[in-house]
Subunit: 202 residues, 2 copies
């Protein structure tokens, strides 16, 4: 694609580095900004720069936080006995939005992926192990995506945590709520049968 | 959606103002920037700000240009007898990339849209009419999208240009090259029959 202006070209180049944004989409965004008030562009640029430069992470759970300890860790009303391990900050936001979980979190910052060169030492696993002894944590819930990398990570963590004497659980896998059996992939459907739960405790 | 940080929230808010970017996508982009080098964010912010502040438009054709007269208008090898009228800079880029057109352009900066409050005076129509007398232009090609607004705009321009004694044409509408007849919408297919072209000039 040829551009009539170097300024446009470099703006498109930078936007197209973002995941899921191709050069056509980038050009559409650039032309939108050109048509809008200058403030829309400067506000966007400022928000991104400020976010990137000033962001800090909770020193306990590694969630993003504007304070040293995040609002979840600092909240005494949260259930201090359960700790939910997730790979990503996005997962914390998703779980919080379900309003079904009242415990604490621990953000790994990724999953073990030999292909991408991500090993256990690149993740917040040591700090996870270190925060259990002396804490009130009784159950660790592994809420990691059931992909190959995710399962490898869950397996690795389970092995590391084995000696700490806490209960380790994982989120249920199965047919999505509202999902049709016939449209569910075979592996998920198979697991949902093997890991069936009882309706009545007989 | 609740965010663990005000910095994240305002970055997401700003990104989600862009067309086609929802809050989920915006969050994904923000988390990508947080994982990448700081330079990726500052380079993006700088490119956008510089583009928005320093951009200039060609004083002849209103195409985006880093110089007073754009490289197309300034090129004596371009065919000075045909002038292609488009609504948007994007269209110039798209047509240039076909390498099928060697003439000049005129960018309207939009189409007439009563719903969006865009009238003829909001577009570069006066400067189009003014640049024809005394120029070498013999044919004006209206390359405006065949939507209701686009057709209104083409009709308005045709009426305005009528007295200037130049030939006015419009781009062909029809079945896309490589497109299947059965998947073409009825209106397009209908037009492609009405506006059929001859294989042999008998
Ligand atoms: Zn925290
Ligand atoms: Zn020009």
């Amino acid at each position: 694609m040829n551009f009539p202006s170097k300024l446009i070209e470099s703006a498109v180049d930078e936007l197209a580095k973002l995941p899921g944004i191709g050069r056509k989409t980038a050009l559409r965004l650039v032309l939108h900004l050109l048509k809008s008030e200058t403030e829309e562009t400067t506000d966007l640029a400022d928000a991104l720069t400020k976010m990137r430069n000033d962001i800090t992470y909770c020193e306990q759970c590694h969630n993003i936080s504007d304070t040293e300890v995040c609002s979840i860790c600092a909240n005494p009303l949260r259930d201090q006995t359960s700790l939910c391990v997730v790979s990503d900050i996005r997962d914390v936001i998703a779980i919080e939005n379900t309003a079904q979980y009242k415990g604490l979190y621990h953000v790994l910052g990724g999953v073990i992926s030999p292909i991408e060169g991500i090993g256990p030492s690149d993740l917040n696993i040591t700090s996870l192990i270190e925060r259990i002894p002396g804490s009130e944590v009784k159950e660790i819930i592994l809420a990691i995506s059931p992909t190959m990398e995710g399962d490898t990570t869950s397996f690795y963590i389970t092995r590391k945590l084995r000696e700490l004497g806490v209960k380790i659980t994982t989120i249920a896998r199965g047919v999505p709520v509202g999902g049709e059996l016939e449209y569910t992939d075979e592996i998920t459907l198979g697991r949902s049968i093997v890991e069936r739960t009882s309706y009545n405790k007989v």
